[in-house]
Amino acid sequence: MNGLIFTGIIVLLVIAGLPLFAAISISSVLLFLSSGIDPTVVIVELYRIASAPTLLAIPLFTFAGFILAESKAPRRLLNLADSLFGWAPGGVAIVSLITCALFTCFTGASGITIIAIGGLIYPILRKHNYTEKFSLGLVTASGSLGLLFAPSLPLILYGVVASVSIDQLFLAGILPGTLLILILSLYAAKQDIISPTIRKKFSIRSLIQTTIAARWELPIPIIILGGIYGGIFTAVEAAAVMAFYVFIAEFFLYRDLSVRKDLVRIARDGTQLVGGILIILSAAMGLTAYLIDAQIPQNLLTAIQEVIHSKFVFLIALNIFLLITGALLDIFSAIIIVVPLIVPIALSYQIDPVHLGIIFLTNLEIGYITPPIGLNLFISSFRFKKSILELYRVSVPFLLLMLVALILITYIPGLSLWLVQALK
């Protein structure tokens, strides 16, 4: 009875907006108390995050991401992508997709893309004669694109929580992430053919100029991916090198940012994002320990195995469940709370944990624009001063296309695993 009352109160508070870490913390304390175990165990479990070797990658990549976001790097990338693809059918839209994807993966996918880049891109799309409906839908959908590319924080966090190699996840995300961009690019090209937009001519001169302008940023992907896959360093070491490199490049080589004016803000904002995520992860350590202790994942597994007999059906159920999760929870909490429950179940259906990670993140990526409460719909509505209903309408075609990609990613494991196996 007491248990029911407490559960009711906590659920009410969570819906009312109680910070998730607080709700998780008190739940684990109460659960341990109810089974007669000293809740100090919650803190012992919490402290275990200090022994997770890959966790260090999170503050380092965040720091680098915030520097890049605050510098003129997005503008330089946009220019470079424009001189590469601006001439093609749907070129400007494709440029937008690629820029958003890069920006999202470097800043950790916190909805910041729409605010920071969407505002830059939307007027450009409109100026090139793209319809309002298409432009708005594209900007909203691009807000979470790029989540599958290294070094996005959700990818790292999944690796930490599921104990899966981050190096492998970085590889696994490349093809599915490209697929998503490709499908949306084809749609953009089709739009352009139906109602032609203004295109610009390809110019080798502008390509050279924009490449030179981005000279210090272009080596970044090579440092990260080349470093990791060339066996030179681990994902955490890559994070260390990138953070240091980006700091030097943007503060001293480009001088976009000043140590006196900008460093304080960037370090503070970065620390806030890291703190906001890691405090939930810390709190969840206790809850996860309790769940395992109480054999909840096993019971869940048995219950599910009684109903679902094939891998195929399980994957459909998983997709539906995750789409709902993605629309309700932000991506970081969703990973922290749901992954420990899902991984053992997925393993019993012979789903590779690396592939599972990619399915997981693709679902959550789509959850961002799933009505009624996908986060990016609200951010876009706020940023572009359009009604939320209008945003539901404009994002539908993008949502459907991303669902097609999701089905391909879910049922063709090779998309995620081929590169991992090829480069082993």
Binding site: L13, F21, P59, E237, F244, G270, Q272, L273, V274, G275
Partner: protein, 158 residues
């Protein structure tokens, strides 16, 4: 008065955040260089850096509280207005603060246990010296919640 205290705490935490973040960046980079160029490995430094992440987590979380940016499912607050919103804000603030105090209590017990067990980090540093951030962090969170609301009710916060 509250505004002044909040600003002081904010400044102190920001200072800590910058110090921790920059040290992590610098030391982890140095370590990569040492390991790859000279083959030197420093397990002790590794352990300290991992604990540094814990410090960043709590300092960052306290800053997040002061600036009201915690991750939550905020369906209800979007619709609440006027007096209802005020009551909702206070209910949430007090609940969160009490929860953080409970966590402060249990983490203090954890520290006492660690002192008694004489646990060490990297073989020489008493573990509790590093782990003390857990109770301090939860306590900072507990006072930051009401602090933000009190300050906000005096002056609109961005």
């Amino acid at each position: 008065m509250i505004t002044k205290i909040r600003k002081t705490i904010d400044k102190f935490l920001t200072g800590m955040a910058i110090f921790l973040m920059l040290s992590l960046v610098l030391f982890s980079f140095l370590q990569v260089m040492l390991r790859n160029l000279f083959g030197a490995s420093m397990d002790a430094a590794d352990e300290f850096m991992r604990n540094g992440v814990l410090w960043i987590a709590f300092i960052g979380a306290a800053l997040t509280t002061l600036h009201g940016k915690h991750i939550s499912i905020d369906i209800l607050p979007r619709f609440a207005k006027g007096k209802g919103k005020k009551i909702l804000d206070w209910t949430l603030t007090i609940s969160a603060a009490i929860i953080c105090l409970v966590m402060t209590w249990y983490s203090t017990e954890f520290i006492i246990l660690e002192i008694q067990m004489k646990s060490l980090i990297a073989g020489f540093c008493p573990a509790w010296l590093i782990e003390i951030i857990i109770p301090i962090g939860f306590f900072l969170l507990a006072i930051s919640f009401p602090m933000r609301l009190l300050d906000k009710s005096q002056k609109a916060d961005s």
